[in-house]
Amino acid sequence: MSAVMEKRKVRLATTSLAGCFGCHMSFLDIDERLLDLVELVEFDRSPLTDIKHCGPCDIGLIEGGVCNAENVHVLREFRQNCKVLIAIGACAVNGGLPAQRNHLDLGQCLQEVYLTGEGVVNGQIPNDQELPLPLNKVHPIDEIVRIDYFIPGCPPSGDAIWKFLTDLLEGRTPRLGHPMLHFD
């Protein structure tokens, strides 16, 4: 088969925003199916490649919600470059664990953790310009940009991620039935 006729690999980018990388670990749980996957896809920006910025991609997988200014920039970079953007895991879908701080005052949180908390000596609130500013509240990613698909779960199982991706790559409407669809 000539090079022109060869099927172009789908470009896939992944990132973790306000997440714990658990969904990426779960992604690796597809185990030897990773070898099947790399036949079909080429990784762009991802912790697996260490590419720092997202180029034009077919699919973007976003783990984690949005808790600081950098998360917003990365998310927008993904949206601009990915034809299909997928929220993966509870944090991306509804804010998840980081959003548990949403009923607390951010200023008071920072003060307690870095200044007044038990055992803190000569504390100071981190204020380096390298550090992204935290947002007042943590948000699910679909409150910032349009999201095409959602894979809930904390984390979604490797099987669920595999089912979803293969459905998508093979042109079917991705669907997770019992027991792959779960929120915990």
Binding site: A90, V93, N94, G96, Q100, N102, P140, D142, D184
Partner: protein, 242 residues
């Protein structure tokens, strides 16, 4: 006399007098999604998840009596779409973080979300501030998960004869309150042996020191989706729900 029946998604479904569409459907092992309905208590039709189309009109199946020859639509894309939207609104109104909830796997709200394939809460999150009430020695109240089904209100009033719970406020400010001057559960005459302690379909009323007792994979709705557990729903007992 000829057995009275109605058509439920085209299936002839028998019913007796005083049976609602929900009662007759459950007896026929047909699942109609619901949250505030419980066979032990007087139906009130507030959650609207059990909405069906009866002779072309949207009605709550738990409060509408079955009628001979009635045509009822239940499991249709139109109704399930509306039910999914109602679930999404319930999810964003409260703080429903399943991974940290003791009720996960036994929760009807979660099980219905699975059943109706709700992949995202879709609407912007409210993230309300609802402090928990951990005052009672045996029971924790986590208001973050309350869906205002009033099952605890009905159980406490009608079975326990205590009226420990009530709903207060209107519209979006509506919330569950405890019948004590301080508002704390510890200052009410609530007890773990009350029926009301065991009817919450979500994770609001929780027995202390008992969380996560069943391993993931073996919980009520891990084994079979809620839509296939009509018999269990029809025969809910304290034991099953505890």
């Amino acid at each position: 006399m000829k057995q009275k029946s109605f058509l439920l998604d085209g299936m002839p479904t028998p019913f007796s007098d005083e049976q609602t569409i929900m009662d007759a459907a459950m007896a026929a092992n047909v699942f109609i999604p619901h949250l505030c309905h419980h066979p032990e208590f007087k139906p009130q039709g507030s959650c609207k998840l059990c909405t069906v189309k009866a002779n072309g009109r949207y009605v709550s199946s738990c409060t509408t009596y079955a009628k001979d020859g009635m045509e009822v639509e239940n499991n249709t894309p139109d109704l399930n779409e509306k039910r999914r939207t109602m679930l999404q609104m319930l999810f964003v109104e409260g703080n429903h973080f399943c991974p940290s909830c003791e009720k996960s796997g036994h929760c009807m709200l979660q099980a219905l979300a699975y059943e109706l394939e709700m992949l995202t809460p879709h609407f912007d999150q409210f993230y309300p501030n609802r402090p928990v009430d951990a005052s009672h020695p045996e029971v924790l109240l986590d208001f973050n998960r309350c869906i205002l089904c009033e099952l605890c209100v009905r159980a406490s009033r009608d079975v326990d004869g205590k009226s420990v719970f009530a709903l207060s406020g209107r519209g979006i400010t509506k919330h569950l309150i405890v019948n004590a001057e301080s508002g704390r559960l510890a200052d009410s005459n609530f007890s773990l042996t009350d029926r009301a302690a065991h009817v919450c379909p979500v994770g609001v009323i929780l027995e202390k020191r008992k969380g996560f007792a069943v391993p993931i994979g073996q919980r009520l709705y891990d084994e079979k989706p809620i839509g296939q557990q009509v018999a269990q729903l029809a025969e809910r007992t304290t034991k099953v729900e505890a």
